[in-house]
């Protein structure tokens, strides 16, 4: 489905290359079409595996923390290094937390 | 909306670069009537379907009707083709740039004023806080405008002419216009351009060709 959709965009991208004198618009469109087409082909080539059990904890505060950390760091760009550092610290804590969760899940799966 | 149609500077025939006439014909003969008809038809169908369906005892199990759908899609495609046909024809006339205009004006927009420089002369009209700049043009003749900006994007809009074009920094865009009715018309910047966008206006003064030439000559003498 994705691949078909990518093709649809691709056809129009080709038309736009021919139709107009400007390069940027068809370039963006071609990239978008290619991305959709590629994603579609990958999905076709990578068939659905046997239903996989994925255990996700009911609560994952670290995910939230990682996001807020990244955010703070980005705002720091206009406020100064100190905020970037605080944000990076929070983000690192969050990512560490997510990694810990993922390892826990792997262990659980191994144990089963 | 009929109120506004009345005070349009209507041109008798749709000649090249008669943007107001082109707009009027396209909008009031094609687009608005079709749009209003579709609106009325769909609203009517909804109302009829609701009244009809409330009387039903059980819903119909019919899932779809491919043939009706295909015919309907074809009808829509025909309407689209019609709209595009008339639009493209009108646009090619409005977009056509005359190689031999009666007068060429370089229009420069900047925060938050307009400057009009008459090509090949020393005549220049610049707006100030106390003076709304006036673009003087001859009636019935082709006027080329070369529109650009010195800072951010502005847009050159003459509502009475039903025409606007962006004033971009970095390059200029040339358009050919024709002003059929003598008089004074409002013009303004229509692309938001910062703090005093609201005040960024100009006037268009359409003179008879002899009057225009007299005015241009007088301004030229005054400038030198």
């Amino acid at each position: 489905m994705l691949a078909l959709w990518g093709l649809f965009l691709g056809v129009f991208a080709a038309v736009l290359w021919v139709w107009g004198p400007y390069a940027l618009p068809p370039l963006i469109l071609t990239c978008a079409a290619a991305a959709a087409l590629l994603a579609g082909l990958v999905l076709i080539a990578w068939p659905e595996r046997e239903p996989r059990v994925r255990a996700v904890p009911e609560i994952s505060l670290p995910s939230a923390l990682a996001a807020v950390g990244a955010t703070t760091a980005l705002y720091g760009v206009s406020f100064g290094l100190w905020l970037v550092l605080i944000g990076a610290g929070l983000g690192a804590l969050g990512i560490a937390g997510v990694v810990r969760e993922l390892r826990g899940e792997l262990r659980d799966r191994g144990a089963r | 909306m009929t109120v506004a149609a009345a005070d349009l500077p209507l041109a008798a025939a749709a000649a090249a670069n008669d943007s107001a006439g082109e707009f009027h014909d396209l909008a009031w003969r094609i687009y608005f009537p079709i749009g209003i008809a579709v609106m009325v038809a769909v609203a009517g169908l909804f109302a009829a379907a609701i009244l009809r369906a409330r009387r039903r005892t059980a819903p119909s199990p019919r899932a779809d009707h491919p043939r009706a759908e295909a015919l309907y899609a074809l009808a829509l495609a025909a309407i689209v083709a019609l709209l595009l046909g008339v639009t493209f024809a009108a646009e090619s006339r409005v977009d056509a740039v005359s190689p031999r205009p009666a007068v060429t004006v370089d229009v420069t927009a900047y925060q938050w004023q307009w400057a009009f420089q008459y090509a090949g002369t020393d005549v220049r009209e610049i707006g100030t806080d106390r003076h709304v700049p006036v673009l003087s043009v001859p009636s019935g003749e082709t006027v080329n405008l070369s529109i650009t900006s010195r800072d951010v994007i502005h847009a050159f809009w003459i509502p009475a002419l039903r025409f606007k074009r962006d004033a971009n920094p970095g390059f200029s865009t040339t358009v050919s216009l024709r002003f059929d009715r003598e008089g004074r018309f409002e013009g303004r910047c229509s692309e938001f351009c910062g703090l005093r966008h609201t005040e960024m206006r100009f006037m268009v003064r359409v003179l008879s060709p002899p009057e225009f030439r007299d005015w241009l000559a007088a301004r030229g003498r005054a400038a030198t």
Partner: protein, 554 residues
């Protein structure tokens, strides 16, 4: 079990922390939706300031500078922080239920996406606390007006970073919804048995993942340009390059704010017509082609720039008539052949189709470059897109809320208040936005704090402002309905409306992993199949008997 989540039992967190870190798609959906409604109140308040300022030709409710901040933040709030997140919130909540999954794919990413969105929104508003004020370059912040020279000050940087974060969050949510659709469907739920709403979300999320990254690129270049003292955009093509990058994202975004509500309104129409959606086999390809065309029309925002392939974009834009027309055909067919119950969700769904049509038809008008030369950047455009986004999407949203609120909370919203809200909102909407079409036609530009005292202009603006006040009243009525449901609950069963799709095959609200058992799925309306096969009346008040399709067997 298909894919996600058989949750690891953990000591259950309660209260705020339980919500803030939840990986349950239903909770994230509700969080996102309520946050968006809070931003909606803020954006609505800003709209009231605009309407107060414009109720006189030369009013001084706010200064010119503040006015610029107000309309910039109004537009940015409504688009980036309200309608896009609301559309995705509906998807995050409903899509896993409609395809019979236990949770959304990648719930942690969705949660992170929510927090990106919230912090982005807060950042955008923090701009008001800075010395130069909040962003004031319009919701599309064209370069070079949004550059460091024309708009100095951190408010603009806050805005750029905030919008990027909100869009990044939206992209994560959309990606997860799409992955759920592609990978986590219950056995038997083939693509062509997915409900209409899920198809609408498919169209939405496909467009999102393709177009939002382009916006992130565009905004990142803009911020780099500001921080490095300029030159980035000048090197790659200046204002035209910015507009191409921006609109390549922003036009699909407009349809992201439409499809989910179209899908919701279509579900509501079908359920309260007591029959399946008419013309499903036409709906599916048309909504996907619709999404394709939506990705191909961005240049129609650039007709008047002088450097744009106008005919191509006029062609793609006008061709949308065909695909949109097919959805309307389905709506009329569904009503025509159904047995209608005019409940509040149904009223809003019908309102959605009719009100949106005004926006759609005025859109056909401005898809013609010749007409757009006059109408672009005028109040005609403002009226046009408010008819699509407010009169369209928000009516669809309330159809969805009145329809799904019982599912999400187990309680009904008041029908009486809902009817009042509908009629007040319909009157207010048309009073507010129709005068704008006329004003724009007559030459009133957008984004001006005062206007010449031309004949009729003030009257039209006063009507518009009065309409806006009515819209505010209708929102208060909705708040009252929610409050009433909270204070004096009226319990809704698992399937109070006689629904067609899987979300009605579980309790209200659904349990943590959504389903104890799933009915067989043989079409896009599995519960309707059951009812028709079982000969039960069209209004089965209780949960249909579900053949055992236990989780173990999946």
């Amino acid at each position: 079990m298909t894919g996600a989540a058989s949750a690891v039992p953990r000591p259950a967190f309660r209260g705020l922390i339980g919500w803030a870190g939840t990986t349950d798609h239903k909770r994230i959906g509700i969080l996102t939706g309520s946050t968006a409604l809070a931003f909606f109140a803020a954006g609505g308040a800003l709209a009231m300031v605009i309407r107060a300022q414009l109720s006189e030709p030369d009013a001084h409710v706010v200064s010119q500078d503040v006015y610029d901040q107000v309309f910039t933040m109004h537009g940015s709030t409504m688009i980036y922080l309200v309608v896009i997140p609301l559309a995705l919130a509906l998807g995050v909540y409903m899509v896993p239920l409609q395809v019979g999954a236990a949770n959304i794919a990648a719930p942690r990413l969705v949660l992170a996406g929510y927090w990106l969105y919230v912090s982005g929104g807060i950042g955008m508003y923090l701009g008001f606390t800075t010395t130069h004020g909040a962003a004031k370059a319009g919701w599309y912040s064209f370069y070079p007006l949004s550059g460091a020279r024309a708009t100095p000050g951190p408010g603009m940087d806050f805005w750029i970073v905030g919008v990027m974060l909100a869009l990044a969050g939206a992209t994560l949510m959309a990606g997860a919804i799409l992955a759920t659709i592609l990978r986590l469907r219950a056995p038997g739920m083939t693509l062509l048995r997915m409900p209409v709403f899920t198809w609408a979300m498919t169209a939405t999320t496909v467009m999102t993942v393709v177009s939002f990254p382009v916006a992130l690129l565009g905004f990142a270049l803009l911020e780099i340009d500001r921080q490095t003292g300029g030159g980035v955009y000048d090197r790659i093509g200046g204002p035209i390059a910015y507009q191409n990058l921006f609109w390549f994202f922003a036009h699909p975004a407009v349809y992201e704010m439409f499809f989910p509500f179209l899908g919701a309104a279509a579900e509501v129409l079908a359920v309260f017509a007591g029959r399946r959606w008419f013309g499903y086999r036409a709906f599916v390809p048309s909504v996907m082609a619709f999404a394709g065309l939506s990705t191909l029309v961005w240049g129609h925002h650039m007709f008047s720039t002088g450097r744009n392939t106008n005919e191509f974009f006029a062609l793609t834009s006008t061709a949308i008539v065909i695909v949109a027309g097919i959805e309307y055909f389905g709506a009329i067919g569904t009503l025509w052949l159904g047995k209608i119950r005019l409940t509040v969700p149904m009223l809003f769904a019908i309102g959605f189709f009719l009100q949106f049509l005004v926006g759609g038809l005025s859109g056909v008008v401005v898809a013609s470059p010749t007409l757009d030369y006059h109408l672009t950047d005028s109040y005609f455009i403002v009226g046009h897109f408010h008819y699509t986004l407010f009169a369209g999407s928000m009516f669809g949203l309330f159809a969805a809320l009145y329809y799904w609120f019982p599912k999400m909370t187990g309680r009904f919203l008041s029908e009486r208040l809902g009817r009042w809200q509908f009629w007040v909102m319909a009157a207010g909407t048309n009073l507010t936005f129709f005068p704008m079409l006329v004003l724009g036609y007559e030459g009133m530009p957008r984004r001006i704090a005062s206007y010449p005292d031309n004949p009729g202009w003030q009257a039209l603006n006063v009507v518009s402002s009065a309409g806006a006040a009515l819209v505010a009243v209708s929102m208060a009525l909705f708040a009252a309905a929610v409050l009433a449901a909270w204070r004096r609950p009226s319990a809704a069963g698992p399937d109070p409306w006689g629904g067609h799709t899987l979300e009605w095959a579980t309790s209200s609200p659904p349990p943590l992993l959504n389903f104890a058992a799933l009915p067989p799925i043989r079409s896009y309306a599995p519960l309707l199949d059951l009812r028709e096969a079982g000969g039960a009346g069209p209004r089965a008040g209780s949960q249909p008997a579900l053949p055992a399709a236990g989780r173990a067997s999946r």
